[in-house]
Amino acid sequence: MKRRAGESKAPVHPRGHRPVDNGARQSASEPREMEEQHAVTMLETIPDAVMNLDESFRVLYANKEAERALEKKRAAIMGGVLWETVPRTGGGKFEKEVRRSVGQGKSAEFEGPFVREGEHYQFLISPCESGAMVFIREETEKRRLRHALQESEAWKRLIVDSVKEFAIFSMDPTGRITLWNPGAEQMFGYTAKEMLGQRSDIIFVPEDREARMPAKELAEARERKHAKDERWHVRKDGTRFFVSGAVVPLYDGGGKLVGYTKVARDITKQKTAKDQLEEEVGKRTAELQKTVSELEAFSYSISHDLRAPLRSMRSFAQILVRTTRDKLDPKAADYLDRIMAGAERLDRLIQDVLTYSRVGRGNMELEPVELENLVRTIIREHPSLEAAQGRIILKEPLHNVRAHKASLSQCISNLLTNAVKFIPPGRTPRVQVRTEANNSIVRLWVEDNGIGIPEIHRERIFGMFQRTPEAEKYEGTGIGLAIVRRAVEAMGGHAGVESEPGQGSRFWVELPAA
């Protein structure tokens, strides 16, 4: 409440409102005057309007705050009948209450409007020998709050009533419905009249009813302050629909449960679309799985069925050579050798294709791999590297990587085999294996002094069956590097090459550091 400061007019004495008699007052000593003076000062400074009216309701005294409440200067009202001089003070509750209080000699407390429109006041009328003391306290703030509350209630009502897309209903603590909005009427097919006082059970599907879902939902709301659910519900006409809903418990100011409110939305369309999508995805996945297993069966059958005749071709040719070479003319012996070589090449090709199809499939869980150990083991144990023992130098230390060990082993042996294979005649192979660590990535280099790779072929050689013209003179299936790239990429890495044709190649593989 605002205060007016700085007005220092001599206070107007309240007359008549004293608990002591006139005689006593007239013989008042100095301290008594002081006391009166204090009382007046106090009346002037308190934030409430105070008036002293005589028996015919003429204003005998009004404090400074009263000027504000009455919107009149004190001088203008002093001595006049209040409701004659101040508009809107008479003819209503105020005048009636004041008259009754004075008439009955009983104090009265009440609330109501006063001079200023739209504002609300608390009144205290206290009769005294001269008439009455009137205390007026502005209640604007409280009033505003109440107003706001009423307004929000109205809004709530409006929202609850006008929202059709959402079913909104409330229940008392025992689960009986106390509010059922038009959205709920539309969604569930029951009118508010039908539902009020009922339990919400009938909108649940029988299975959920049996599983005591209605009660469980409320219990969950109590426990977690909020229960969200998506489930099928049933309409009055028996049709089912899918609902996304939330229940909140309602508590009064003292924390006592007063009920629940549930807001629900029909999401059958979305649900159906989602189900269809899932079904579709499931179907596609099944088709893909079928394709994959067909492919697996195919590669299995390659390994078994194609290699079997090859084995007999090769073996019988070998037996023939072994048992009859002396009797054959050199040309026939040469042909037999070519049959065997062809069979061997085809066998390697089939094995490489199989490796390629298997690599990067299945469980590719990465684990820390000690690269030095792995590379040493490969050099020691790989048959095609036997001749190059001592030509492959490890530049230690090698950083460890995260990889699928078997796949990485396959990659490194392919790279090392290539490194010692593609060497110009007469040159001694010299291979260096080293690593570079950059942040969390380790790059493994396999560097050779071989024939090198012209720039235009550097990307191509990682494809299936791709060989450079220079490489044609060397044994190979053209699959080894395709296997490397596929395996490395399946492990989340990359593979590439730098080269100086005629001088050598530097193949690299990047993998996460361990």
Partner: protein
């Protein structure tokens, strides 16, 4: 060396011929009998049909089993041998062209004694058969009453 019978279950005729050749190369005296599929192997073991004559078709001391067979698979036959055949304890060596992990594992799961991938050349096959001869046909002791009675008779 004891005269034992080795039963080869193999549908590829060439592989039968090659094994016979390798047996000769290795100087194995044992009787080598071959059947082309699982059903025939069951008949052989049970002495049914064409195999009634135990003189000609003695119970095997060792079975060499291909996995991919027409009709019942090698694994199914292995299961039958281990569960309901009269020679449940007979050593069975799987001899397959597969080196698939799943094949290897399911063979051992059904109690194969060994899994060998068929060698791709005759030299390797002969080498394998020589090993077989020394380990299985020379040094290995077989459980009593399992197989040898029919042959020793």
């Amino acid at each position: 060396m004891k005269t034992l019978c080795v039963l080869q279950v193999e549908d590829t005729e060439e592989d039968v011929v090659l094994l016979r050749y390798a047996f000769q190369q290795a100087g194995i005296q044992s009787v080598l009998r071959a059947v082309p599929h699982g059903e025939a192997a069951m008949d052989y073991i049970l002495g049914k049909g064409d195999f009634y004559d135990r003189e000609a078709f003695p119970l095997p001391a060792l079975i060499l089993l291909d996995l991919k067979l027409p009709g019942m698979s090698g694994l199914e036959l292995l299961g039958w041998v281990r569960s309901s055949s009269p020679i449940r304890m007979v050593p069975v060596i799987v001899l397959s062209s597969s080196s698939h992990r799943t094949d290897v594992e399911s063979a051992y799961e059904r109690c194969a004694n060994a899994f060998v991938t068929k060698p791709s050349g005759i030299d390797e096959l002969t080498e394998l058969v020589e090993g077989l001869k020394i380990f299985w046909l020379k040094h290995t002791q077989f459980p009593a009453g399992s197989v040898n009675t029919a042959i020793r008779r």
